[in-house]
């Protein structure tokens, strides 16, 4: 499940005054006792102690905070929102106290303190970060833990955005924090960033962890060797890193004693000899830290677990960035490290890797291995992941079954009593609902899909793709004939002809293309569905998606332009005048050159390079995906606006599709057709014809607007290393099949062009040309009711009503309805 390190109660930092028991005040002693009780999971005792403590220190925010935390363990978190409120109150109170105490301090020694220091500092005014001040007045009103706990609750509530905004300030000022808390902050932040799929930030945190906690498992296995060597080679004085080891602090101090005897300079001192001591320059090795500090003794024991944990994050991050080759290698490292542990996590990751590589059978096998499949949380994971694999194998219906089962198990966590905070976060029903929705979409069930997506909304509402999918429900409903819109085709289209009168008076009334008589079934849609599946809602979804996509792309470009700001853990760019450029180039590489010495530099850069190439790869993938998403959004918008009879808007969306760089030819075709229709509706048939005539070659022949290859995605190259060489080709084949079934074939697209061009010709009074085009189009789309009607229209326009009747009689999708029935209706 989980590295043992985390299974234990998080080791709370002991009261720092532990060394001088004698000096502890009564309250401090009680506080210590309470902490011990908490650690020992004796929450009831702890609460009693805290109540007593509260009597003595009424209104102390930290006591209140700990009380709330303890109660949450006692009551099994009855109400996380109440807890959030308490924490908010406590934090506010702390901050008020900080202000008060700072004012006090300022009035006490403020002026005298600041004035003389300027004399040597050349009188420059120095920037002073607020965080520094806060930490100066530190401990008593320190809100780090409160803030962290707030983030924990938000994380469990799946409110990752808020959790990130709460936790990020802590991470930005993580240095002064004690290591235990810092580790907790980093790990929580890692989980949050992974949930938010923010690879850049996650890389930053992982690199910070590696740097500061010395738990680097270098990405290049060969380099592992060099570390011990470096350490061996270190002469005295011992390597200094930013986290001074307390273990050899004596030797350290001793070294200083020696130096200090000789250093305090006299005029007589030989500088050469003084500095010659520095010439035998020591190598700066990076220590693999196996003990952090006095305060985190029990963490020290689990340094190995720390490594495992970090490695797990690394693999997850690599999988997120789809750097499968490196992920595979790192996973191997992880498997080696994790020998003898509960390996469910590792096996799941391995299964995910095989899934990502397209080795589905292997993935299923690995997925089935973990044996603790009794807990609902694990069962939910199992069925969900199985569903994902089945989806890839195109067993959509089985896949739905799996997801539903996963959903059931996941939801059962909610009803568990007593409700635990962790159970909240284990409830992944939002994610599973999304998967479920996708499957329903694939299986052509728009209403079910929409209601699944509604369930998934809380976690996905910030993702453009989510809103695109949501809108696709309505478009699918349109296609399936559940919705209807003027001019849109559905699979249930038919031509209905009313036969009115009899004998000599018999008249045939040709109706526009209509949905087969199933409004009634569509009318059944309950109110909620009506809200989720409609063209208006689809438009809203698409606009959301467009806004979000613009926002993320803007954000990305901002990040790219000032990386230094977000690389918190990286070098604090030394921003002095004239050095701006060095500083910024420095911080662009988000590794820790600060700490790498000359020998270690190679290691630093190679680590860096792996992550950098991973990120670059991921960015590229994201960019391509965003392009696809954008063209789909704009194409759909143009379509929806046409359906909603807003030709002007449709025209502008269609134009913006055409302005996209690297737009797929299929979308180019669609946007030409949409724009042409909009132009026709706007009484500009000539412009419309111009739009469509880009496809005309050699007189009246129309070329295929796109072909199968470029109509769809170029398959992302999978990392196949021969193990499962069959699988990738199978996928490829299957993907092509699906394209065919889902979208217009190129030949049909050509037929569409003929018909629509014919219509523009008719609008311009060129009946001959129209007749020619439409008849060619009809030959390509003999079963399309609209094509038939187009031909009938042209016939009627020319007064050839008998020919029109003949065509109608031949067509498959025509239904003659006796008028008497209609009359009675």
């Amino acid at each position: 499940m989980e590295p043992p390190a985390a299974k234990e109660a998080p080791p709370p930092p002991l009261p720092p005054a532990a060394e001088e028991d004698a000096m502890l005040s009564a309250t401090a002693a009680m506080a210590k006792e309470a902490a011990l009780a908490f650690q020992g999971r004796r929450y009831a005792d702890c609460a009693v102690l805290l109540t007593k403590l509260l009597d003595k220190k009424e209104g102390d925010p930290k006591v209140h905070h700990n009380m709330a935390i303890t109660e949450s363990f006692l009551d099994s978190c009855p109400d996380s929102n109440r807890l959030l409120k308490i924490l908010g109150d406590v934090k506010r109170r702390s901050e008020e106290l900080v202000c008060a105490s700072r004012e006090q301090a300022d009035s006490a020694n403020g002026v005298g303190n600041n004035a003389p220091s300027g004399s040597r500092g050349s009188g420059i005014v120095l920037p002073f970060s607020a965080t520094h001040n806060a930490s100066t007045y530190g401990d008593e009103f320190d809100t780090t833990i409160i803030t962290f706990n707030t983030a924990v609750i938000l994380y469990h509530l799946h409110d990752y955005e808020s959790a990130l905004s709460v936790l990020d300030p802590l991470y930005r000022n993580i240095e002064p924090m004690d290591e235990t808390t810092a580790l907790h902050v980093c790990f929580l932040l890692l989980d949050i960033t992974l949930a938010l799929q923010d690879a850049t930030k996650a890389v930053d945190i992982i690199q910070y962890l590696e740097r500061s906690f010395g738990v680097a498992n270098t990405m290049n296995p060969n380099e592992n060797v060099s570390i011990p060597q470096q350490q061996l080679a270190q002469p005295k004085p011992p390597a200094r890193i930013n986290m001074p080891p307390d273990s050899d602090s004596n030797a350290y101090a001793g070294g200083y004693e020696n130096l200090s005897a000789g250093i305090f300079p006299d005029d007589q001192i030989e500088f050469e000899s003084l500095y010659s001591t520095f010439d035998g320059h020591q190598n700066l090795g990076r220590r693999i830290l196996n003990d952090f500090s006095r305060a985190s003794a029990d963490l020290a024991a689990t340094a190995a677990d720390l490594k495992v944990r970090l490695q797990i994050y690394k693999v997850r991050l690599l999988l997120l960035t789809r750097n499968l080759k490196v992920a595979k290698r790192e996973l191997k490292v992880l498997m080696n490290m994790a020998r003898g542990r509960d390996s469910s996590t590792e096996l799941l990751l391995k299964s995910q890797l095989e899934y990502a590589r397209g080795n589905y059978r292997k993935a299923v096998k690995l997925l089935s291995t973990p044996n603790n499949r009794t807990e609902p949380a694990m069962l939910a994971i199992f069925y969900n992941n199985l569903g994902c694999i089945l989806h890839q194998q195109r067993s959509y219906h089985t896949s739905i079954w799996c997801f539903s089962k996963a959903l059931k198990y996941s939801l059962s966590l909610r009803s568990e009593k007593p409700m635990k905070l962790s159970a909240l976060s284990q409830d992944k029903s939002c994610l599973i609902s999304y998967n479920c929705g996708i499957q329903h979409l694939m299986c052509g069930k728009p209403l079910l899909a929409a209601s699944c997506f509604r369930e998934a909304m809380p976690l996905f509402y910030k993702r453009p793709l989510f809103w695109l999918r949501f809108s696709e429900c309505s478009l699918l409903a349109l296609e399936k004939g559940i919705l209807c819109a003027n001019g849109a085709s559905s699979c249930n289209d038919e031509i209905e002809i009313n036969v009115v009168g009899s004998g000599q008076w018999r008249q045939l009334i040709v109706n526009p293309v209509n949905l087969r008589n199933n409004f009634d079934s569509a009318g059944v849609t309950s109110g909620e569905h009506k809200n989720l599946v409609s063209l208006g809602f689809a438009r809203q979804c698409l606009l959301n998606a467009l806004l979000l996509l613009d926002a993320t792309e803007q954000e990305n470009s901002v990040i790219a332009s000032n990386t230094e700001d977000c690389n918190q853990g990286a070098v604090q760019g030394y921003k002095s005048s004239g050095q701006k450029s060095t500083a910024s180039t420095d911080s662009k590489s988000p590794s820790g050159p600060t700490l790498a010495n000359v020998n270690g530099e190679q290691k630093g850069t190679s680590l860096n390079a792996t992550w950098q190439s991973s990120l670059a790869l991921h960015d590229e993938i994201c960019r391509k995906e965003n392009l696809k998403i954008r063209q789909a959004i704009l194409g759909n918008l143009a379509f929806v606006e046409l359906c909603l009879e807003n030709p002007l808007k449709a025209l502008s969306y269609a134009k913006s599709v055409l302005q996209l760089t690297d737009c797929s030819r299929m979308y180019v075709f669609l946007s030409h057709v949409y724009a042409a229709e909009a132009l026709c509706t706007l009484n500009r048939p000539k412009d419309a014809a111009e739009k469509l005539s880009v496809y005309i070659r050699d007189g009246n022949d129309i070329e295929l607007p796109y072909n199968v290859e470029n109509s769809e995605k170029a398959l992302v190259e999978r990392d196949s290393d021969g193990e499962d060489s069959v699988a990738p080709s199978v996928t490829k084949l299957a993907t092509e099949e699906s394209e065919h079934s889902e979208s217009l074939r190129p030949e049909e697209a050509r037929g569409v062009l003929y018909i629509d061009l014919g219509m523009t010709a008719a609008m311009q009074g060129e009946v001959e040309q129209a007749n020619y085009m439409v008849s060619r189009g009809l030959a390509m789309l003999p079963n399309n009711p609209r094509a038939v009607l187009a031909s009938v229209y042209i016939d009627l326009l020319q007064g050839k009503s008998q020919e029109a009747v003949g065509k109608l009689r031949q067509c498959r999708n025509v239904r003659f309805r006796p008028g008497s029935i209609a009359a009675s209706s």
Binding site: P13, A17, A35, P116, R120, G121, S122, I124, L126, F128, T136, D139, E140, I145, I146, E175, D191, N242, S249, F271, E272, H281, L320, R322, T345, L348, I381, N384, C388, I438, V500, S502, G503, Q504, W505, R506, I509, A522, G536, S576, Q579, A583, T594, I621, A632, N636, F639, L642, V673, S743, L744, M763, R786, A787, V792, L796, G799, V805, A822, A823
Partner: protein, 457 residues
Amino acid sequence: MSVKKDDEAGTSPPAPPRVAVAAAAAPKPSTYAPMGALRGEECADLLALVSAVSRPLEDAVADFLARVPPERRPRFGNAVSFVLEDKMMLQPAERLVAFAILHQGYSSQLANPFLPLLINAACDETSEKAEQAFLQVLLSSTNGDNSEVLKQSAVDYLNGSDYASQVFLPREQLVKQCSYDVARPLPFSSNFRDATVRSAILDPDVFQSVGNSSEVSSIIPNRDDMVATLLQQTSLKGLPPQWIRPSPPRLEILEGELQWLNIDNNHELLWDGTMCADTSRGAVIRDLVDQACKGPLAVAQQEKIIEDLGKDWKLVYHCGMTPQKLPDLVEHNPLIAVEVLSKLINSPDMDAYFDVIVHMDMSLHSMEVVNRLTTAVVLPPGFVHDYISNCIRSCEDIKDKYMQNRLVRLVCVFLQSLIRNKIIDVQDLFVEVQAFCIAFSRIREAVGLFRLLKSLE
């Protein structure tokens, strides 16, 4: 069979009732209904009205105004014109009544929406003479003075011979007379949608030959039935041009779009260990650091600071150190300064500390601090370069020869140390350092540094 092509100038039908279009276009399946259809009783009304061929025409018009409420009139009128379009559907007398209704019943409106239709019919050479004449009379007379005609019944008019002498005005004159401006901009409507063809096709299942007038009258109930059904059922708009609007494809499921689940890490709530903590934490070191900024500390005091920081290096953030205090600390206790700075290296305020060091007065102590820092931690290259530049500048500025020699020697040794240890890249500072060496070539260490530089070239 009349084929109506509406985009020919002047023949545009009345703008279809926009309200009706909007309602039908709304994507709500439940509200779907054939456009412009009449209610059952209205069809009966219509047929009853036009069949009153033997009553005076003005009575028929009055009847129309009484029976059809104003809000239904546009639709009713459309139905009438639809029926008129097919010349077979109504008998000649009935047609006259229908025309009269269209002319008179809508004359109160600002502009009679059916004028174009009436003018067309008046100029239609293929129509019956009587009908054309009747329309000419109606259209050419100014309001009110056509009462003569309207006092007659339709049958009387047809049986009479007045129409034979009727002067047929050319189309342009009629248009002028009716103060109907062909070019009058209609409220926006899409010609594309309105370019409909009549969607009713006569498709008799008996042979055409039976169509003589006596038989027509004999099957009037049959016809009434047909007209009623037709009007109730059809969109009177006809068949619009057909356009194929392909649906956009569904975006393929992206890689990694399906959510794979992993086992969660457990993040538990943390106990705040600083509750009621001894606030004297760091008090000792804070005092010592404060003292250290005022004067040199005793060895024991220095050891205490180093020991405390060694035990818990994060204390460095709680010892009251600020960038402003740094110059004093450096001057009085360089070792402590090194100790503190090397632990603050990742502090958010480190830039400020670096800034102070660069800008403080050059001294042996500051150089010692920097030199020790370079060996303890990796410093930003920008800082080291700035610092060296400042060293060189200080050497040049110093007036006292003895002190200058001292400082130059110190800087040379310092630079050699940095270069040998590859703390700095010589190339970055080559010109500056070279100039420095040449300026002070009288000093042995400068020559040594110069040689070192050359050897690296």
